[in-house]
């Protein structure tokens, strides 16, 4: 019951402070809150109604025999030791996770995961804007394109003529580009269901010696046009060269969907 309360309290608090979306997709929020509320009501029911230990009066001999016949026999010594270790390990993990649920501040995934999952590695079929739609869009629409939209477009075409005159205005966190000293990605995570399936996407930004100004994981808003990436070794042929770059706080809804 304790674990139920732990999860219930944490989840409801996360929902109340609007941080549940750091962990799951917004479409699940209502369902989650409703089910957790039901769970808490049932937990209350357990406290109020469930038979307590001394109410179990097994004075029925038939039943005793029945239960005893299925009860496990004592295992051999080696298995006892192995079992003991497994139980202790399991209990430790459970307690640690419970503590983390209640005591640690909620967080988004960091650039460590973004690097490990390779920014843009599977953007080929992402939702977001297609080239065809983009051509028809007005210049106002471009201003609201997100990291996801631009990353998808960059995947589909690296024809510089397409990007002529267009300005990207995106917000994301900094992820160093593995193969390039002067390029970093303005990234965000895209989520299908929950943080566990988060895929990082990013727009490459070319800025000489950016490390003197920026740290990985810092959130920035970058605005600028597209140029051919001056570096010949980078895997991104087109990059944004910023006209303005501004550090911002982490937004309350850091993930894209």
């Amino acid at each position: 019951m304790l674990l139920t309360l732990v999860v219930g309290v944490s989840t409801l608090w996360l929902a109340a402070t609007g941080q549940l979306i750091l962990y799951i997709h917004p479409r699940y929020v209502v369902f989650t809150v409703v089910m957790i509320a039901i769970g808490m009501v049932l937990s209350l029911g357990v406290l109020a109604l469930a038979p307590m230990r001394d109410e179990h009066d097994h004075d029925d001999p038939d039943e005793e025999a029945r239960v005893a016949s299925v009860r496990p026999r004592r295992p051999r010594r080696g298995r006892v030791a192995a079992r003991g270790t497994a139980v202790v390990a399991g209990a430790t993990v459970t307690v640690a996770v419970a503590v983390a649920l209640v005591a640690l501040p909620p967080a988004t995934l960091t650039s460590a995961t973004a690097g490990q999952r390779d920014v843009n590695s599977s953007t080929a079929a992402l939702k977001g804007t297609s080239v065809v739609d983009a051509e028809a869009a007005s210049s106002d629409a471009y201003a609201s394109f997100s990291v996801l939209d631009w990353a998808g477009l960059l995947r589909q075409t690296s024809d510089l003529a397409f990007y002529e005159g267009k300005t990207a205005d995106v917000t994301g966190f900094v992820v160093p580009a593995g193969d390039e000293e002067d390029v970093f990605y303005v990234s965000r995570f895209v989520i299908t269901c929950c943080a566990v399936d988060a895929q990082p996407v990013g727009v490459p930004v070319q800025l000489d010696d950016w490390r003197s100004e920026l740290q990985p994981d810092e959130w920035v808003t970058v605005s600028g046009g597209f140029r051919t990436n001056p570096s010949s070794t980078s895997s991104d042929p087109v990059a944004v060269v910023p006209d303005s770059l501004e550090k911002v706080g982490q937004p309350s809804d850091p993930y894209l969907y």
Partner: protein
């Protein structure tokens, strides 16, 4: 109402449905409502029920402490843990937060099945012939659409209601795939292209019935279950202390939560740990090979432990890098066997059974994937 076979001997009959022992001295239950004639324990003189107040107070106190800690925690501030460890925590918590509502839903449905449905609800209309019966059970998921993790408590409830062990396995394996939500989302993601949807549905049905058939031939189905669950099956239902169905419901809830929660925590931690430790690029590079694409996607499905309702959307971006057989294998293997599911299944089935299950399901999923690749 069909009379359940008397339970309680350690050697179960050859795979006959074990109805719940209803023999307190030979009396039958009447739908499990509180106390039929001659049904109550005779405690002799009236027994004073101990006061519930201390328990409620203790519960309230614990909840208050948890809330207080939770409210105070932002003061700790960010950056307490190194990045990788923080991500591990975030991933683990996200698995728990995402699965919890489904586990709860599964338990609620399980309680409904065990306590509030009439005793012979399933035996009356399910076909008697085992093969046909299992085939029909495969489609029960259409009416009970719970995520794969919610199916475990529900399957437990069904066993306690009279399903055989092998029938419960058929249900467990089929329900995550053969349910309306999964079918709709898979169709939304893939349409009919490359036969992925067909492979998923046919594969799920095939595997579920294959496993059910295999285990129906087992001479001692009792031995497939963990000792604690088998002992639970041996307890007669309606161990009434005069509280009736409501009491039974909350007692069931307490028992199921006590079993499921540690399993969920541990499964989530393992899933989060593997994700943090293994770079995804390793898997992605294997995408275009007909054999490796299937294997790599199965490993990914195993590790990522996603709910079957939405895994189609997750795997969609991979569809351009990986061959369709790999995608099909992911969609068939994932809902049945993954880190989180194994932890939850461990509450009910013995490790040896789980190992066998994983092997058979893995081989069949791989075969399906390879066939799809071959035909593509």
């Amino acid at each position: 109402m069909s009379s359940p076979l008397p339970r309680g001997s350690a050697t179960a009959d050859l795979d006959r449905p074990h109805g719940h022992g209803a023999d307190h001295g030979g009396h039958d239950h009447e739908g499990g409502s509180g106390g039929g004639p001659g049904h109550r324990h005779d405690h002799g003189t009236a027994r004073r029920r101990p006061s519930r107040a201390p328990l409620l107070v203790a519960g309230a106190l614990v909840a208050a402490v948890l809330v207080a800690v939770r409210l105070a925690s932002p003061a700790i501030g960010p950056g307490l843990l190194p990045d990788t460890l923080q991500d591990f925590v975030t991933l683990t918590i996200s698995v728990i937060v995402e699965s919890m509502p489904f586990v709860l839903l599964g338990i609620v449905l399980s309680i409904v099945v065990q306590v509030w449905l009439p005793q012979a609800f399933f035996t009356s209309w399910l076909p008697r012939q085992p093969l046909l019966r299992r085939a029909v059970i495969s489609f029960l998921g259409m009416f009970l659409p719970v995520c794969e993790c919610g199916n475990v408590p529900l399957a437990r409830g069904l066993v306690l209601k009279g399903f055989t062990v092998s029938e419960s396995m058929t249900f467990l394996l089929a329900a995550p795939i053969l349910n309306p939500i999964t079918i709709i989302t898979t169709h939304q993601a893939f349409g009919w292209s490359d036969g992925i949807l067909v492979a998923r549905l046919a594969g799920g049905f095939l595997i579920a019935n294959l496993i059910g058939w295999l285990y129906s031939r087992h001479p001692d189905p009792e031995s497939l279950l963990t000792k604690s669950f088998a002992a639970e099956c041996a307890l007669p239902t309606g161990h009434e202390h005069g509280g009736g169905r409501l009491r039974e419901s909350v007692e069931l809830f307490r028992r199921e939560m006590a079993t499921m929660m540690p399993a969920l925590f541990i499964g989530a931690a393992i899933a989060g740990g593997i994700q943090t430790a293994v770079p995804r690029s390793v898997l992605v590079t294997l995408g275009t090979n007909p054999v490796w694409s299937v294997l790599a996607m199965m490993v990914l499905a195993f590790v990522i432990s996603l709910c079957s309702n939405v895994d189609a959307f997750f795997v969609l971006p991979f569809a351009t890098t990986f061959m369709p057989g790999g995608i099909a294998a992911f969609l068939v293997f994932g809902p049945i066997i993954d880190v989180k599911m194994l932890a939850l299944l461990r509450t009910t089935y013995r490790p040896r059974v789980l190992a066998q299950l994983t092997l058979v399901v893995a081989l069949t999923s791989a075969a399906i994937g390879l066939v799809v690749n071959f035909l593509a």
